[in-house]
């Protein structure tokens, strides 16, 4: 078998980039599923497959498959019909419906998907859902309707749902849990990806989970294996998310002094928690919350901070150059940290970093290490997410101008979700491993891979 020949995209978080042995097993599983073999035939195939599985296991260990061709992932190749056909075939095989794109896209972003909230994926699925676990359908719906937002929240909800899936799972006869469970999770992940593109945190969590499942010894009984998996999910949540947040909060506390004026943008659970902890520990500071349309997430940060008694000012992003002269530092959250030190965060963050640099205000980014991603990006165009363009239309009379945008052939609406801040504009990254400069991110990634 030459390298990865399957049509799985590589090189992006959330997709495996493991050795060729894995794809062999996957192709064999597909072939097995396709043929209507009776039990005798399956037995002989099982005898064949065990030496191959034993061969596949040692190949799962290497840390970095350097020699493999990295394919461009399909979710940034929407304007390539061949890639879309491959995706459609894959989804059909997994019994996951394909979500249609909506509306005309701006030319620069025509390689990305653009979905409408009014056309959820569940339109094409049966009620009650049988191919996809009901908890996963519920999660996907909450993602696509925008009810679950925020990198940490999405990842926590995903792990919670996978815990439930593992709890409800039972190994079919003649199958091994370590391989069948991964195969069972694949359609769920495709479904969630169709509802809303996976975030970097979710991608890393899925990679971890798949590794844990594949690494299960085949001598374990099903109950023990399931218990072990649930334990490892709990461990991941506790270490990488909760304890990391505590550590980051402690480190950031050293950086916040009395009398500070801190500028925050949008809603980051980590930054809000850091500020609330600092306030609880007695630091005196005030906060300027910057917000932007259409999501207006800053209102949520405002709510959390004001309830704790922190003095806050609320402005729109258009006013930052007026506020920055009085700001002592800027504290930003991140969706992902890329391998060249760039920070991928909510659209508007790079503007804030740029203007802060112009005013010589230090920019600090808080990010847990589990959001570090091996992708390299220097601009915000190549890989991004396009949200529902109808969100830009104001409700009521204010939206009268934009409401007929679809009929107007020269009008396109663009609702970007993320943007990339170059490392020169970021002064410090506060992670659970300590406070590091942006350029040290690849070092952390290398250390993480060696550990694994």
């Amino acid at each position: 078998h030459p390298g990865p020949t399957s049509d799985r995209p590589l090189g992006t978080p959330g997709h495996e980039k493991l050795a060729g042995g894995k794809s062999k097993a996957e192709l064999r599983a597909e072939r097995r599923a396709k043929q209507e073999a009776d039990r005798a035939l399956k037995q002989t195939k099982k005898v064949e497959s065990t030496p191959a599985a034993a061969l596949a296991k040692p190949r799962l260990q290497p840390s970095e498959p350097q020699s493999m061709v990295k394919r461009v992932p399909e979710h940034v190749q929407v304007d390539d019909p061949a890639a879309q056909k491959r995706l459609a075939k894959k989804l059909e095989r997994q019994q996951v419906p394909l979500r249609p794109d909506y509306g005309a896209k701006v030319n620069l972003f025509s390689h990305l998907h653009q979905y409408s909230r009014k056309m959820p994926l569940t339109q094409q699925m049966s009620i009650p859902s049988t191919a996809i676990h009901p908890a996963v359908v519920r999660l996907g719906l909450q993602y696509s309707q925008g009810l679950l937002n925020g990198s940490n929240a999405r990842c926590l909800a995903l792990l919670q749902v996978f815990r439930q899936v593992i709890r409800d799972y039972s190994t079919p006869p003649n199958e091994e849990l370590s391989r069948d469970l991964v195969a069972r999770l694949k359609p769920y992940i495709s479904f969630l990806n169709q509802c809303r593109p996976l975030s970097a945190s979710m991608g890393n969590a899925i990679k971890y989970l798949k590794k844990e499942i594949s690494g299960l010894s085949s001598t374990l009984r099903e109950e023990e294996a399931k218990g072990k998996l649930q334990g490892s999910i709990d461990g991941y949540v506790r270490e990488k998310i909760q304890l990391a947040a505590e550590a980051i909060s402690k480190y950031a506390f050293e950086k916040i002094s009395d009398g500070d004026v801190i500028l925050v943008y949008g809603c980051s659970s980590l930054v809000s928690r850091t500020l609330c902890d600092a306030h609880a520990n007695g630091r005196a500071f005030r906060v300027i919350v910057v917000d932007s349309r259409p999501r207006l997430e800053g209102r949520d940060t405002l709510r959390r901070l004001v309830r704790k008694g922190i003095r806050c000012t609320y402005v729109m992003i258009t006013a930052i150059s007026y506020m920055l002269p009085e700001v002592s530092k800027v504290l930003l959250g991140a969706h992902a940290l890329l391998a060249n030190g760039s920070v991928m965060s909510r659209v508007g963050t790079s503007q804030i970093a740029l203007v802060s640099k112009a005013y010589n205000v230090p920019v600090l980014v808080c990010c847990e290490t589990y959001k570090f991603c091996e992708r390299v990006q220097t601009d915000s165009f190549v890989s991004n997410e396009l949200d529902d363009p109808d969100d830009l239309i104001l409700p009521g009379k204010g939206g009268a101008h934009l409401r007929g945008w679809k009929e107007n052939s020269s009008l396109r609406l663009l609702n970007l979700v993320y943007d990339v801040t170059p490392p020169e504009l970021v002064d410090l990254v506060i992670t659970d491993l300590g406070m590091i400069p942006c350029t040290s991110v690849p070092v952390v990634l290398r250390v993480k891979n060696v550990e694994q």
Partner: protein, 451 residues
């Protein structure tokens, strides 16, 4: 499994006794299919494989449907006056997951995922379907003139998005004023109150509501008691209830506490799981967390277009029959022709394109049939004019009759030369030759005794 479907087919059809005295309501033919076929077809189309049908023994004997789903028919005794909630209590051992309750008289082409998605996405306790009711325009036989039926209006309050159900009251329960709780207005300052909405009696309920019903025996009907209870409970806090109960005497029985739905609510919602991490809120005007910390949430989907009928009065029955020929081709797969293959029609040209003729029916020469539905095994002789009629099975119509806007039940015989307009002829009636009736209801004497 995500949902179990329950179809309630034990109701009597008390508002159309002329028809239901001889035929049980679930079996009333609409477009030549029994009424219960429509909700079952809806469930089959969206992908259900098993349905629990709660009905009476009488209906079970006569029920004969060809459907790919597995029907689990539960009979309740004929004489027990069981409401819909009582029926749920009766089958609550079978209910293992969230439940979708339908009434047997619902004919609709709604995209059901709209209702179910509200239920799933918001982790709601209840999700239901409503449609703007319109006045039936058809003349109903037996009605003297177009008098408006005295309906008790329902007041439905929804929030700004039009999805969250905040308030529900029926005119019958109110004296002169609408009473709205302050806690409701504090949490939802903008509320739109609508009347003129017809409830489709289609409910998605969480499993813990079924458990609650099993313990709480005071609720008998889903629509008139359980749903208003749940809607009210959205804005009452469990803490205040517990305080009131502590103040009562010590000899309160323990099971009094469990009559409150809050002790049944299972909080496994993803939205409430890590509320401090997610940056979504259901409202923006104040500092409270999403949903104001309320555990019970009710949602409604109000249909704007499409059909949604509950066939529980004669007028709606006739209206449904009018609309069904347009609806049927989309529902039945593979497509059945409107004129049945085994029907013998002599003059096809005189049969209108939206008329339905059942199997084994014989239609004579020069007989014109327009906008009508004719059942199976009927015999219609020559030179008959049928317009806008609903004719059930095994009816005989002799030569030269003229029928307009009539409803003729099973096994009736109309002798030669009769001229009928806006009439309802009951089962097995026999009309004299050359009889002329306008706007009359002719049923047998034994049916007249039913009150």
């Amino acid at each position: 499994m995500e949902f179990q479907a329950v179809v309630m087919a034990a109701g009597g059809g008390s508002r159309m006794m002329d028809l239901t005295s001889s035929i049980p309501k679930p079996l009333l033919p609409v477009g030549n299919k029994p009424l219960i076929w429509y909700p079952l077809n809806l469930l089959e189309r969206i992908g259900f494989e098993e349905v629990i049908v709660v009905t009476t023994k009488e209906v079970q004997k006569l029920l004969n449907l060809d459907t790919k789903m597995k029907l689990d028919i539960v009979c309740i005794p004929d004489d027990a006056d069981m409401g819909t909630a009582d029926s749920i209590r009766h089958i609550h051992q079978k209910i293992k997951t969230d439940v979708l309750v339908l009434s047997c008289d619902l004919i609709t082409d709604v995209a059901l995922h709209e209702v179910v998605d509200l239920f799933r996405a918001h982790d709601a306790t209840l999700s239901m379907l409503m449609k703007k009711a319109h006045e039936p325009t058809e003349m109903v036989p037996g009605q003297k003139g177009k008098k408006k039926p005295v309906e008790q209006r329902d007041f439905i309050g929804v929030d700004d998005t039009g999805k969250r159900l905040l308030f529900m009251a029926n005119e019958a329960d109110l004296d002169e004023e609408l009473v709205i709780k302050r806690s409701l207005l504090q949490k939802h300052p903008r509320m739109h109150i609508r009347t003129g909405l017809a409830d489709a009696h289609l409910y998605c309920l969480k499993k813990y509501v079924v458990d609650f019903l099993a313990e709480n025996r005071s609720l008998t009907s889903i629509r008139s008691e359980l749903i208003p209870y749940l809607v009210r409970k959205q804005f009452s806090s469990p803490a205040s209830l517990r305080q009131r109960q502590d103040n009562k005497e010590q000899d309160q029985k323990k099971d009094q506490k469990s009559l409150d739905i809050f002790s049944y609510v299972k909080g496994d919602s993803l939205l409430e799981f890590a509320p401090d991490k997610s940056c979504w809120n259901s409202h923006s005007a104040d500092l409270n967390e999403a949903f104001h910390g309320g555990k019970v949430r009710c949602y409604v989907h109000i249909m704007k277009e499409g059909l949604c009928y509950r066939v529980n009065t004669l007028g709606l029955y006739i209206e449904a029959n009018r609309q069904v020929p347009k609806l049927l081709p989309a529902l039945v797969c593979p497509e059945e022709p409107l004129v049945h293959v085994f029907a013998q029609v002599t003059d096809r040209g005189l049969v209108g394109s939206d008329s339905i003729i059942g199997s084994s029916t014989q239609v004579g020469e020069k007989t014109s049939i327009k906008h009508s539905i004719i059942g199976s095994m009927c015999t219609i002789k020559d030179r008959v004019k049928i317009t806008n009629c609903i004719i059930m099975n095994s009816v005989t119509i002799e030569e030269g009759c003229s029928l307009q806007s009539c409803l003729i039940c099973h096994n009736a015989v109309i002798e030669k030369g009769a001229d009928l307009r806006d009439c309802l002829i009951g089962s097995s009636q026999r009309l004299e030759p050359k009889s002329k009736h306008v706007n009359e209801v002719i049923v047998g004497s034994e049916q007249l005794m039913e009150i």
